[in-house]
């Protein structure tokens, strides 16, 4: 009996695409078997190009607008809840674990949707400097961000790997490996949530294939690794990244104020006060 494999495409620049290399890799779950496009170096470069344009679009939206788009994503998941539960069960979670995780992810998205128009009030400030000067620390998004999703079987961890960056206005290239099916399924709902093309790209493959390029690509301003990766990979990304003083963070997926701090640049503006 020949196996019928389900295929998923990457989500780049608002479109569903295959790898330019045509290569795929397999993710076999309990019931279903999947073929996933394997990200090539060229695919990564294309994603960065898209993300750069996506950053300009996403960052120029009003906070209210961004907030609504994130909230819309939670509504989409809510509407497709059952299918996510089935998918997570296929990954080995019990029905109640799966249900909990989906609900958590919806809550997480709503939490960030509500943070979009407030975070700068929590992280920026007027500084009481001496003399007749107005001094304000304005907060800006770093820009194109690459995030490596954790390998946990969790929609909640997945959304925590791109929401902090999106919340502050960065565009994101989200990369998944073993749990890519969850991310690529989510990309369908992302596509229906009015994100500007390129603001959130979802790709998958073997991280070790592209780690050097993630470190070396100067247009990737920040790489955040939410997964445990090998010391070798850490060294490669660090060494390549150092060539352009790239911001690189290693952290577990979390929420809270600390989750957004790595994605912010602080710009302090001085102006005299006079007549």
């Amino acid at each position: 009996m020949t196996e019928v494999k389900k295929t998923y495409k990457h989500y780049v620049d608002g479109k569903f695409v295959r790898s330019e290399s045509g290569k795929v890799y397999a993710i076999d779950l309990k019931n279903e078997k999947y073929e996933i496009p394997l990200t090539s170096k060229k695919d990564l470069r294309d994603a960065v190009t898209s993300s750069k344009a996506g950053f300009a679009k996403w960052n120029s939206l009003t906070m209210y607008n961004k907030s609504q788009i994130l909230y819309r994503l939670s509504e989409m998941i809510e509407g497709n809840k059952e299918s996510y539960i089935i998918l997570l069960q296929d990954h080995g979670l019990s029905k109640s674990e799966a249900k909990n995780d989906i609900e958590n992810s919806i809550n997480t998205i709503i939490w960030y949707a509500g943070l979009v128009d407030k975070w700068e009030q929590l992280t920026g400030n007027l500084n009481p400097v001496a003399g007749e000067y107005f001094n304000i620390s304005h907060q800006e998004p770093i820009g194109v961000t690459f995030t490596l999703n954790s390998n946990s079987i969790s929609l909640d961890d997945l959304v925590k790997s791109f929401l902090p960056a999106l919340t502050v206005g960065c565009s994101v290239i989200n990369f998944s490996e073993k749990n890519a099916v969850i991310a690529l399924k989510l990309s369908e709902d992302i596509n229906n949530s009015d994100f500007p093309a390129g603001s959130l790209n979802i790709i998958a493959g073997k991280f070790e294939n592209i780690v050097e390029d993630v470190g070396g690509h100067v247009e990737i301003k920040h790489a955040v690794i939410y997964d445990d990766i090998s010391k070798e990979s850490k060294t490669i990304i660090g060494e390549k990244g150092s060539e352009s003083v790239k911001r690189i963070s290693f952290q577990p997926p979390t929420s809270g104020l600390s989750s957004i701090l790595p994605f912010i640049e602080t710009k302090t503006v001085w102006h005299p006060k006079g007549k």
Binding site: H138, K234, V245, L257, E265, K267, V269, H271
Partner: protein
């Protein structure tokens, strides 16, 4: 009768007491170096040897890091309000002895006494005061989720603002509960050594502040030490990249404050006389040895000639000479190496076709000096338009529209600071929003305050020093 020269007004050197030789300051006392090696620190304005300082080798660094590890135990047992008091005491002592520090800074580093006296030292004391007050309020800064110290922090500081950079590093590190191994620059170690004496004097628990002097190899030992939890570095972009590379694959925190090539944008509707002052202060402050110096003058094409004329006349009033003369505006270049580098870049600028203006002035025979210089007729591809010169050399470029100004300003790998000069408020905000720079000075330049975060975008580094944001450089999220 009309000629009016200012007579020399020299600050007395007698106030400082420099030892012939210095050890490292480890675990609360001065110790001879394991390396048994020393290097001379000289006065760049006379080339006179001031003292010999120890060169820290791997063992010396290891002793210091171990002392700092022990220090963590002490320091974490010290209540936040007690930590706060130690920092307040340090601030007070610095104020009391600020004249001594100022003279020492000018002797060892070559900067004019009016700057060390009126800028560096007041800022240093204020910075300790500022962070002293944070020590018992860490939970309030970023919430209790971000309030854990790293432990042992290695700090490597530059020669341009030796004691000020020490204060930017040490005060927030200690306030947040870390302990420190500090490596001052090889050409300017003396004020850090005097600071170590103050730590002893106030009875700071042993091992909380440790000082290892030396050169680049000493710094490299510190970066590579296995027990260091975090490195904070201020210096050149190339060394910063080297440090980041060295730390790859290791779980060590890092903040970098690196080079710059700041654009100082003068629009045609600026208050030109004040803009001239700001541009002069932006590049000639501290001989241009300033990472955030406004080294690229971007002037709107239609006012180029008027502005350059005003600028050259104003530059001619700058007084170059003995750093200890209270009337000196421009002191000595910090080292022979730095002078060579400046000379090389300036020669290249002339060969490329840049038009060089230098003020007429007499330079002292001994020591390292460079005349305040201005390049016009510069094209964007000249090295002097892209490379950090770190000296009293200003490069002029022109622009036609605000969009073009922003484009030129951002056309660099650096992103530390920028300046904007215009009387039109909305143009300031429009421009500031679009500049890739961590500090933007509008209608002013080179202003600093302990409450104001400082640090770069892009290859000027990451992390901030100063203000509430400065605490983040020394705190981890507790999970």
């Amino acid at each position: 009768m009309n000629n009016w020269e200012y007579a020399e007004s020299i600050e007395s050197e007698k106030i400082v007491n420099i030892e012939k030789k210095y050890g490292h300051f480890i675990e609360g006392e001065f110790v001879s170096p394991n390396s048994k090696k020393y290097l001379d620190t000289i006065s760049p304005s006379t080339e006179e040897v001031l003292s010999s300082i120890s060169i820290g080798d791997e063992k010396d660094v290891d002793f210091a890091v171990n002392a700092a590890k022990e220090g963590v135990k002490q320091w974490s047992k010290t209540s936040p309000s007690e930590r706060s008091k130690y920092l307040f005491k340090l601030a007070r002592l610095i104020q009391e002895r600020s004249r001594e520090f100022a003279v020492l800074e000018s002797l060892d580093g070559g900067k004019p006494i009016k700057e060390s006296r009126d800028f560096d030292l007041p800022q240093v004391a204020q910075n300790f005061f500022y962070y002293a007050g944070w020590a018992d309020k860490i939970d309030l800064a970023w919430g209790s989720g971000i309030s854990k110290p790293y432990g042992v922090v290695g700090q490597i500081i530059p020669w341009n603002f030796p004691l000020l950079m020490l204060s930017w590093k040490v005060a927030p590190a200690l306030a947040t509960g870390n302990t420190v191994v500090l490596k001052p620059a090889e050409t300017t170690p003396l004020t850090a050594l005097l600071f170590a004496e103050l730590c002893d004097e106030i009875g700071l628990p042993k091992g909380v502040f440790n000082l290892v002097t030396g050169d680049g190899t000493t710094g490299s030992h510190l970066v590579n030490h296995k027990d260091i939890k975090k490195i904070a570095f201020t210096g050149s972009t190339s060394v910063g990249k080297y440090i980041q590379k060295s730390l790859s694959g290791r779980d060590v925190g890092l903040t970098l404050e690196l080079g710059g090539k700041a654009a100082n944008i003068v629009y045609n509707d600026a208050a030109l006389d004040e803009a001239v002052d700001g541009v002069v202060n932006g590049i000639f402050f501290n001989q241009g040895h300033v990472c955030c110096a406004g080294s690229r003058l971007l002037v709107q094409e239609d006012i180029h000639d008027v502005f350059i004329d005003k600028l050259e006349k104003r530059m001619q009033t700058l007084r170059v000479g003995n750093p200890l003369d209270k009337n000196t505006d421009i002191g000595a270049i910090n080292s022979k190496d730095q002078l060579d580098k400046i000379n090389e870049l300036v020669n290249e600028g002339v060969n490329d076709g840049g038009e060089l203006f230098q003020i007429e002035c007499e330079l002292p025979k001994n020591g390292f000096w460079f005349k305040p210089s201005l390049f016009t007729g510069v094209q964007a591809n000249y090295k002097i338009a892209t490379e950090e010169i770190f000296g009293p050399v200003l490069t002029t470029l022109t622009f036609r529209t605000p969009d073009e100004a922003v484009e030129i300003a951002n056309n660099t790998e650096y992103g530390l600071s920028a300046g904007i000069w215009t009387e039109k408020g909305s143009k300031i905000l429009w421009t500031a929003d679009r500049l890739d720079a961590g500090v933007v000075w509008a209608n002013t330049f080179n202003k600093f305050d302990p409450a104001s975060p400082f640090g770069g975008y892009k290859e000027s580094g990451f992390g901030r020093e100063g203000g509430r944001h400065g605490l983040l450089s020394y705190l981890k999220a507790s999970s």
